[in-house]
Amino acid sequence: MVGSDLVMYEEEFHRIDAELKKLHQQANSKVVFLVDKNGQLIASAGDTHDIDTTSLASLTAGNIAATGGIARLLGEKEFTILFHEGEKDNIHISLIGQRIILVVIFDSRSSLGLVRLRVKKASETLAAIFEEITEKVDKEKGEGKLEEALFAEISDEDIDNLFR
């Protein structure tokens, strides 16, 4: 398999969650999302009740992938920030460390300038956390701990049972 699977632990999740909540507040935004480049929702903050978060995550990843494709055609490595302006709501999408996508939805109570500023700060913190996760996964894989944690417990029979 190419690259490593994304693994999220309890401890790091809480730190990410706290960082997103902080960003949500400081940027005066409606909702903040963190999405894997493959379209998996990692975490969110704010009022997500009215939003289909799974679809939003996959479409955002599609959006980033398409923009990345355009960038390469133009000889750019990547466009790291996307901004969509709507009548009421706006959406600010940015890439963190080539792998994670940060999405901020905001309305007239905030401004693009404020969002950009806060996103920049939060990105640095989040990038550091994801760096730590990668190191942790590599370390645990090396020690065979991940296996103990989950997959050793799953038998072939468990998988078969899922498809009965």
Partner: protein
């Protein structure tokens, strides 16, 4: 590239339906969507043209059940089959865990099937994957039409890896869940092997 979330106790995997234009990839997803319980599925998203040809992708999130307290979720994607959407097709394969190749059984579509399979090999290789190592199944679709090629012939042309294959009529649902289950199962076994 699956996503294992210990915090929300979820395992997320990505399966891509690949194949030539009009072979029935979207129809597969539509059938799965119709026949799944509401609590098991999310919205079926189709980014299509006005004539309902897939423009970018279709997407369907599906919850299969629990294993040892972990929710097992699959994200199903289709690629746009038409030749000139090559650039978008490549993007959908990013982070794929398993592939279903949907072949059109009509004799006159055999060349398109082979072209699409070559295209799949090339695009996977560009992302650093090898088709030979991925969870993979082949679906011979449209078996209800009058002018279909014998399965044995299709298998020779399209299934050099000798992977599991299914005859299907996606519009009526024949073979649809069978194909999905076969690949989903391989993905989970692969994940188990990997860790």
């Amino acid at each position: 590239m699956s996503f294992i979330n210990y915090s929300s106790r979820e395992i997320n995997c990505k399966i891509v339906y690949y194949g030539p234009g009009l072979c029935g990839k979207t129809t597969n997803l539509q059938y799965i969507y119709r026949r799944t319980n509401p609590e098991q599925k999310g919205k079926l998203i189709s980014l299509a043209t006005e004539t309902e040809r897939t423009l970018f992708f279709d997407f369907l999130p599906l919850a299969l059940g629990d294993i040892k307290g972990f929710k097992i979720r699959f994200h199903l994607y289709t690629v746009p089959g038409q030749v000139f959407y090559a650039a978008s097709r490549k993007l959908i394969l990013k982070g794929v865990d398993g592939v279903i190749f949907v072949a059109d059984s009509q004799i006159e579509r055999m060349e398109s099937n082979m072209e699409s399979l070559d295209d799949l090999n090339i695009n996977l290789a560009e992302q650093g994957y090898e088709l030979d190592k991925l969870p993979f199944a082949v679906q011979y679709n449209k078996r209800d039409l009058p002018n279909v090629a014998p399965v044995a012939d299709m298998d020779k042309l399209l299934n050099y890896r000798k992977v599991i294959w299914f005859e299907a009529v996606a519009v009526t649902g024949k073979g649809v869940f069978e194909t999905l289950k076969a690949v989903a199962k391989q993905v989970l076994f692969e994940l188990k092997k990997h860790y």
